[in-house]
Symmetry: C2
């Protein structure tokens, strides 16, 4: 897929991007969490059954990474213009994410601000979500993406 | 290291935990970012020199994972009592993180609330930081950790 290069001026409030879908396997949930976040309910199916979650769930950080990858691969961010982010206003893990659930990624542009002091940069405020098969938002991130301007 | 098991009642406002230190190598920054966050300034030393960062920097998500692992390994969280988190109030990448910089991890407890509706659970609000060799906070996370109570 060759996505168009998007500059800050190309994002407009209310714009919606569908950025793909993803389902975790139990194996990758366990492998990732053993390295970074070894809660029993992320790394051991039997132990997970004894917890309040009733079974294996993905680490929230793993979920966040899948969303990040979708922002790249789904054509929301362009490698030529994206400068990263200073952080996030909201990061919410609203529902547990279980193996095999197909998560659908979407991004909505909230507002766009071109920098006055640095005309080569703009700030694209957006909310990215992963929605589970029950139609519930499992993960929500509201963030400012720093994007190069066309005019700068 | 055998850390004590910490219950919600064991955390008190103002408590400070030193949770270890970590320095990224260029190789691991590149390998991680290729998989999850392939901005040129995370995956290519030469390309990174041409960007506003002037060299390779770690993906903010990679930094967040190192902090998460410190919360486990540094004895702030206990696997027996930690139930995860519903998300974060603040997540800030304040300074670029470069290969070889030794980051020092610290956690401060802001406040602790025992659940009224679910006496087996408490909410430990804390701010976790990674500080670079210049004494600047590079990463800051304010979060509610859900922790089992001793009394529940």
């Amino acid at each position: 897929m060759t996505a168009p290069i998007r500059y800050a001026e190309d994002y407009t409030p209310g714009q919606v991007f569908d950025v793909g879908s993803y389902a975790f396997t139990a194996e990758e949930i366990i492998a990732f969490s053993r390295e970074w976040d070894p809660h029993p309910f992320h790394i051991d199916e039997d132990a997970a059954k004894q917890t309040m979650f009733g079974g294996l769930i993905a680490s929230g950080w793993h979920t966040a990474l899948v969303m990040m990858r979708m922002l790249h691969q789904g054509g929301f961010l362009s490698l030529e213009t994206s400068i990263g982010s200073p952080g996030h206003e909201e990061l919410k893990w609203l529902r547990p994410v279980r193996p095999g659930e197909l998560l659908r990624g979407q991004v909505v542009v909230n507002h766009v601000k071109l920098s006055k002091s640095r005309p080569e940069l703009g700030f694209v405020n957006c909310t990215a979500t992963l929605t589970n098969p029950a139609g519930e938002v499992a993960y929500l991130l509201t963030s400012n993406a720093i994007i190069k301007t066309r005019g700068g």
